[in-house]
Subunit: 148 residues, 4 copies
């Protein structure tokens, strides 16, 4: 695998949290449920604290909470790698929903498998806290603004 | 194109609305923002009323509202085609985010391009109300429960 | 839908055929099986002539011929829209295989649903000649080189 | 990650090679270029020997050879896990093309991230021989036949 991780992050988890709270206050509408656990160059881990607002009886509508978490951890991994780029935009997200998540916290781990000048591609694994099995697997692409 | 539309829907928009409100009350947490506009066999159109909770400064985190809308209109198209199947589960969703949506209602139109015994595949076009340009295009798969 | 089609193509089908034969002679290794049927701005239609080399007993390995056709018709639609760009590269392709194709010609129709400065996104419908049902549906992204 | 690998494969690499050569002789049309390197439960590794027929000047048409390799290694991982199922069919493949591959052998490693009763989902990493960097990343779904 590509070995980005030796480089340090350019923003700390605290700096990214402050950036997100300022730029995207909506993610905390139900309280601080989305929390950065760890960042390094080209990697980020987030936890989504379990909350009744995510409950889906029967599990039929899998995923708005997972989809939001995936998009967010991907953006955090980019911020950790290249700094505050408010103009990065998601261009593609592909979700495979694998198992019905238990009513527990979700952990999302993103690895940037490409970090180019114009595009970043991420691989995101989502698990239920306490189990190694993937509940969802996601890949996605961010378009990065032209850099001077 | 596959011409499903000649067959009538097996549930009306009103029946599906009632089913969703009973099974998935969370979608109305900010009020009745997600509204079915039209259903027929293998097709559904929904409107997401614009609401400040969807606002994203700079547009960076494109999409939780659009992703929820896409998953929902897809499920509505399935309900309209085969009736109340609470156990249908999304297995794949692939999003292409094409243009930054204007601060207006979003319209999502889903066509089932396959409606098999075990899998349904949908094609979903999302536009901003009043403009023909796609803001997002989505394809997805639902696994259907075994039918007797 | 986005209405690109009023603009004329910048290359004719004959010019694109000559460009492909010169730059990518491999596509004709089994003879001239991939043929452009029609091009206009942001649209292209190609036919893959049926040939035993595509046969898959049981249909299990669905798709290398369809995948090649989809990538190619997408590239042809870009050439028709912005001219000869040998450096355009596919960055994402998402395939949904819907029905087992009959042993007949395949028809692929590509519409560019976004044609930006740096990215083009295409929607590709593949049918068997003589039937309106989709055998596969594809979306994809091409990264375009910086233009002066 | 899900830890399938402790279970042994139900078919050896030799048995799978023989099954493929019998059922899908077309993959060897240019000689035995696609070779199984290793199989275990829910995992497979294949090598695509470099051959001029895959050459793409400029690299523009990235991928038919990679797409075929991805579909094949995925099928091999399923065969290794549940035995000869000629009726398994690919329903979805999502490709992210990350780097232009060097003119060398390609190595594809597939891990099944879900192996259910009706669906198998695979994660496939493709690298150039001798480099750890991904040239492509693929996820996909196979529909499995009903099992007695």
């Amino acid at each position: 695998m590509t070995t980005f991780a030796a480089k340090p992050a350019v923003m700390t988890a605290q700096e990214i949290d402050a950036f997100l709270a300022r730029e995207f206050p909506q993610i905390h509408v139900h309280g601080p449920l989305y929390r950065i656990e760890q960042v390094s160059h080209a990697q980020a881990t987030m936890r989504l604290t379990y909350h009744d607002s995510q409950l889906r009886p029967g599990g039929t509508l899998s995923g708005p909470a997972m989809m939001t978490l995936a998009d967010l951890v991907f953006y955090v991994a980019i911020l950790a790698s290249i700094g505050p780029v408010a103009l990065a935009v998601t261009t593609n997200l592909n979700f495979n929903f694998l198992r019905k998540p238990a009513p527990r916290d979700l952990i999302a781990q993103c690895t940037l498998i490409k970090l180019g000048r114009r595009l970043a591609v991420g691989d995101i694994a989502i698990t239920s806290d306490g189990s190694p099995d993937l509940v969802a697997h996601v890949t996605g692409t961010y378009a990065l603004p032209d850099q001077k």
